[in-house]
Each structure stands twice: as structure tokens, then as C-alpha cells.
């Protein structure tokens, strides 16, 4: 049960990240493999703010006043994290506008590595040893439930914001950039501006994810925010379907649960290895083979369904008629 609550919290944090990334990559078509960098900026900003504002407000003898203060400190941390991350989004977005495809991917990768290296070398951020984040909001048995609630609310907020943006004229402008940048420009879309908007928006949501993560985990380690995390996030967006928010959600949940379930099941598969004495039978836990399975899933998907699991299908199609005439509604 405790474990289940932890997984729910973690998946919700991932959803904030993939929601933002689906905007940057899925809709605007900007290939970013540095999303974990924005996440790190958010997490460490939040950690830093909490360390400053609420070092030990929630000691055993905490009064109601200091409990309230710790909630306020968390709120301040969330705001600062989102601002810091979106500022980074702006810093990455502006110089990278002229880049596209592979070049943009490398630039974003470079950004996230810079962030990681800065953190590893910054004494005030705990360096390679990591940063302890004091408990905020609440302690004790209910803590994990409270944070699951916060994370769920954050994920719902993120997805709602992404959806609202996408179904507006601004969202259509973003998608038109992915579809045909030239045509979009010549139809009056300020392509430069919208690319930056996309980066800033996605980064802000990653900042939110970072703040919730920092406060929930109570400990930040730079290795958590490495290159593989960015790739994992990107795969969730790509596998779910480039143009589908529903797909992104499903893929995020699935790609998190499958390896966890494999670890839990402790299944093992036989392997044969060649030794001096000839072939020998051994066994490997399936969970350890996950990266291999991952790769196979990816290759099969790219061959059979390059547009992702759901393509551009959205769950809202279930209750909205596609050929609905707008003048009937308005």
C-alpha cells in the first residue's frame, strides 16, 4: 500500500514532465533531449528556497504557526522553481531558435549537461553528494498521502493547462510550426515567438515537477537528472503518440509501471553464456533486461507504428463528435 502511494506520486511527477515535453516535442516539433535539465533547475531551486526559508520548521514540537509557515515556504518554492525553470527555458529557447532537428537536440542536451555539471560542482547545492531538503507541509504517517495529493493536483493542473493551450489559436499555431514552418510563417504566425513560448511553458511545468519532487523526496542527487532521464521522458512522449496528450499519459504510466512490475515479479529468464567449459546455463532477472526489452519495443514501434501508440487520437473524441458543426454550438 505504501509502495502504491509512492508510485502514484512518482507517476504524477512524471506526468508534469511529459505533459510539458509533449508540448515542446509533440506539438511544436522541437526535438529536446534536455528536459531533465529543466526538472533539475526546478528541483534544486525549490530545495534551495526550502533550505533558506524553512530549515526545520517541522520539528517534533512544531506549533500550528510554523506548520503554516512551512506550507507557505513550499508555495514560495513552487513559484521560484517555476520561474527559474521558465527563465532557463527562455535562455535555451532564444539562442536555439535557428537550430532544428538534430542540432537543437544536441544544444538541449548540452544545456542539461551544463546544469548537471554546475550542480555537481556547486558546494551550496550539495555537490555530487546531493542536497538534503527539509520536510515541509507535513510530517508523519499522512505525509505520503498529502504529497500524493499534491502531485496529483500538480499533474492535473499541468495537463489541463497544456490541453487549454493546445485547443486555442496559440496551440494551433504551435502545431502548424511542426507541420510546416514556412507555411505557418506566411500565414501570420510569429514562429520565433511561439517556439520560445513552447520552451518556456514546458520548462515551467518541469519546474513545478521539480519543486514537488524536491519537497517529496527530501533529498536531491545530481545523477537523478542525467541524460537517460531526458531520453526516458522523450520516449514516453514519442511512444504515446506525437500528437496525443492521452497517449502521452498512457505511455508515461505504462513505461513507469512495466519495469517496476518486472522488478516486483522477480521473474528470471535463462541465458546461456560461453565459458572455457563450453555453454553454461545461467539466469538473469527480467527487470535487469528491461533496457533490452525497451529497445525492442522501440524498434518494433518505429517499424509498425511510427506515429506512436495513439497517433493523434484524444480521449475527448469519445464524447465529442468529430463532424460537429460549430454553428450548432455557438
Amino acid at each position: 500500500m505504501d509502495f502504491a502511494v509512492h508510485h502514484v506520486t512518482y507517476v504524477c511527477i512524471l506526468l508534469m514532465l511529459t505533459g510539458g515535453l509533449s508540448l515542446i516535442h509533440g506539438r511544436t516539433g522541437l526535438l529536446s533531449i534536455g528536459h531533465a535539465g529543466f526538472w533539475a533547475v526546478g528541483a534544486y531551486t525549490a530545495g534551495f528556497v526550502i533550505n533558506r526559508l524553512a530549515p526545520d520548521l517541522l520539528a517534533a514540537d512544531a506549533t500550528a504557526g510554523s506548520r503554516l509557515l512551512s506550507v507557505a515556504a513550499f508555495a514560495a518554492a513552487v513559484v521560484c522553481a517555476m520561474l527559474a525553470a521558465s527563465l532557463c527555458g527562455l535562455l535555451v529557447g532564444v539562442p536555439c531558435l535557428r537550430l532544428r532537428g538534430d542540432y537543437l537536440a544536441i544544444a538541449t542536451l548540452g544545456f542539461s549537461e551544463i546544469i548537471r555539471v554546475v550542480i555537481v560542482n556547486a558546494e551550496s547545492l550539495g555537490g555530487a553528494a546531493g542536497m538534503r531538503v527539509p520536510a515541509v507541509v507535513c510530517v508523519g504517517d499522512t505525509r505520503r498521502f498529502v504529497f500524493a495529493g499534491i502531485a496529483a493536483a500538480g499533474a492535473a493542473f499541468s495537463l489541463l493547462m497544456v490541453r487549454n493551450l493546445l485547443s486555442s489559436t496559440h496551440g494551433r499555431a504551435l502545431i502548424s510550426i511542426r507541420e510546416d514552418e514556412v507555411a505557418s510563417q506566411l500565414l501570420g504566425v510569429n514562429v520565433t515567438r511561439y517556439k520560445v513560448v513552447s520552451f518556456v511553458f514546458g520548462a515551467a511545468l518541469a519546474g513545478l515537477a521539480g519543486a514537488v519532487y524536491a519537497a517529496y523526496m527530501g533529498y536531491l542527487a545530481p545523477r537523478e537528472f542525467g541524460f537517460m532521464k531526458s531520453v526516458e521522458l522523450l520516449l514516453m512522449v514519442v511512444l504515446g503518440g506525437i500528437g496525443s496528450l492521452t497517449g502521452t499519459v498512457l505511455a508515461t504510466v505504462a513505461l513507469y509501471i512495466i519495469p517496476e512490475a518486472l522488478r516486483f515479479a522477480e521473474w528470471s529468464v535463462p541465458v546461456w553464456s560461453l565459458t572455457d567449459a563450453g555453454w553454461r546455463r545461467g539466469s538473469v532477472e527480467l527487470a535487469e533486461l528491461w533496457m533490452v526489452v525497451y529497445a525492442i519495443i522501440l524498434i518494433v514501434m518505429m517499424l509498425l507504428r511510427p506515429q506512436g501508440l495513439l497517433g493523434s487520437w484524444e480521449i475527448s473524441r469519445l464524447w465529442k463528435k468529430p463532424n460537429q458543426r460549430p454553428d450548432a454550438t455557438g
Binding site: N164, S168, S176, V182, A183, Q185, L186, L187, G188, N323
Partner: protein, 288 residues
């Protein structure tokens, strides 16, 4: 923002009477563009009066599409002046020029393939939709009202272009002729006063191109449109255009009414080399 306001003012003052035949909507002087050592366009002069329908023709590689790219701001001119609707638009980014009222279609269709027919047209309305990102995120009234209006206008355009029953389909699934029509509908959504059409009937059969011609004529009247079109189908150009400009090697070699162009020796030479038949003959894409 200031410029946008200026445009709106210009629109409201000139209003319907911008169709006055003496109002010069586009004036291009000594326009030139070189790519490295290659002079793609040089000494290009063009004046379009409001409501005119002018054809731009010339052999392959004459620089017709380059002229379009220069007018829309997609290429920066090497030298020359472009005044559009009374504003100097030289060196402006394309999306700004669109805001002043210029829209175009493309020779090789450039629709937003994975977006629906409806959303393609809605993107055209983008720069005329004036609610902000915050309005969209919070679903404020400005968002709802504006979206309802865009949806209604989109519906009207789709009806006009007989695409209403395809509204929910992805643009790439449309047959070729309808894709061409959708591209014009999308350009019309941007609210142009000058519409640039790059080979609108390329690849269409006789009856399709006749329908399109009727549609363009209708648009011209209903929306007070000025049109400049590139076309290889000489029959089409001769039928629809009032004035024709002939480009060869990046320079204007002739300009005048269809009848004048037909009998102009320089034009005949450019198309067929010395000797041969008139532009109406089989050497050009007129035989279908």
C-alpha cells in the same frame, strides 16, 4: 501592436472604397535579389491597383516564385523598395507582412497535413485572433467569444470552398484538387487584400480549373481582392487576367493586356526560342 492598430485604422478608413481602381495596393521598384553571384531577380518593377487581377508568367527558372518570396518577406531583397498598402514592408518578417494583408499559396502544396481541414483554416485566422495565452489557459470570456467567432467564420469559408463535409478530416487525406482549394481557403482566412497564387491550377483537369476560375472571380468581388498569380497554363492566364507580366532571366521582358502579350515577339522568343508558334500554341502547357 502600434502597427496592427495602424492597419486596422487604414482598413476602417479606406473600408469598402479601397476597391477604388486608382488605389495602389502594391508598388515595387527596382527590386533585386542575388544568391551569391546568381542574379535571380533584377530591376523588377510592378504596380498593382486595388482589385486588379494580374498574371506573372515566364519560362521555368525565370524567377517568378522568387518574386513571391520577396514580396511576402520570406527572402530579404538585395535592393529595391516594396510598398504594400501604403507601408514600406521591405525587410519585414513574413508574419508581419501577412498582418498587413498579404497571403499566398504555394506551388508545391504546403498544407498542415496532420491537422484537420478545419484547423488548417483556423490557423489562417490566427493573427486576427486577439486573445492572449492567459485567456486561453483560464478559458476566459475573450477566449470563448473569439473561438466561437473563428469557428463560425471558418464554417463560412469551408462552405464557400465546398469543403464543409471534410472539415474533420486530416488535410493530407484530401484529393489533390481539394487540397489546392483548401490552401486558398486557408490563405483567405488570413484576411488578405492581396492574394498571391503560385500555380493554382497546376495538375488540375479542364473542368477543375474552370471551377477554380469561377471561384477566384467570385472571391475577387466578394472580398475586394487584388490577385497576382503565377501560372503555366496559358489558357487559364489569358482567360482570367486583365494584365500579364512576363519574366525571363529575372527581368521583366513584357507587360500588358493578354492580347498584347500574345503578339509580343520578345515573349514568343523567350518561350520558344527564335521562330516557332505563338504562346497560344502547343509549346506551352496550354494543350490539355
Amino acid at each position: 501592436m502600434g502597427d496592427k492598430q495602424a492597419v486596422e485604422e487604414a482598413e476602417s478608413t479606406s473600408g469598402r472604397d479601397r476597391l477604388k481602381r486608382d488605389f495602389e495596393i502594391l508598388s515595387v521598384e527596382k527590386l533585386a535579389k542575388s544568391f551569391g553571384g546568381l542574379r535571380a531577380v533584377s530591376d523588377f518593377d510592378l504596380e498593382l491597383k486595388a482589385g486588379e487581377l494580374v498574371g506573372l508568367i515566364g519560362p521555368n527558372g525565370a524567377g517568378k516564385t522568387t518574386v513571391f518570396n520577396l514580396l511576402t518577406g520570406f527572402y530579404k531583397p538585395t535592393s529595391g523598395v516594396i510598398r504594400f498598402a501604403g507601408y514600406d514592408v521591405h525587410g519585414m518578417p513574413p508574419h508581419r507582412i501577412t498582418e498587413y494583408g498579404m497571403a499566398r499559396t504555394f506551388q508545391n502544396i504546403r498544407l498542415f497535413g496532420d491537422m484537420t481541414v478545419e484547423d488548417n483554416v483556423k490557423v489562417g485566422f490566427h493573427h486576427r485572433t486577439c486573445y492572449g495565452i492567459a485567456d486561453a489557459l483560464l478559458r476566459r470570456r475573450a477566449f470563448r467569444d473569439s473561438e466561437a467567432e473563428v469557428a463560425q467564420k471558418t464554417g463560412e469559408l469551408l462552405d464557400l470552398f465546398s469543403l464543409a463535409d471534410k472539415r474533420g478530416e486530416p488535410a493530407r487525406s484530401l484529393p489533390y484538387g481539394e487540397q489546392r482549394r483548401l490552401e486558398i481557403a486557408r490563405a483567405m482566412a488570413a484576411g488578405p487584400r492581396l492574394l498571391l497564387l503560385d500555380e493554382p491550377v497546376a495538375g488540375m483537369n479542364r473542368s477543375e480549373s474552370r471551377d477554380l476560375m469561377a471561384l477566384l472571380r467570385r472571391l475577387r468581388v466578394e472580398f475586394d481582392l487584388t490577385m497576382l498569380l503565377i501560372e503555366h497554363d496559358i489558357k487559364f492566364v489569358m482567360d482570367i487576367c486583365e494584365r500579364i507580366v512576363v519574366l525571363d532571366g529575372g527581368e521583366i521582358i513584357a507587360s500588358g493586356s493578354p492580347a498584347e502579350i500574345c503578339s509580343n515577339p520578345a515573349v514568343i522568343e523567350a518561350y520558344l526560342g527564335s521562330g516557332g508558334s505563338t504562346p497560344g500554341g502547343g509549346g506551352m502547357n496550354a494543350s490539355r
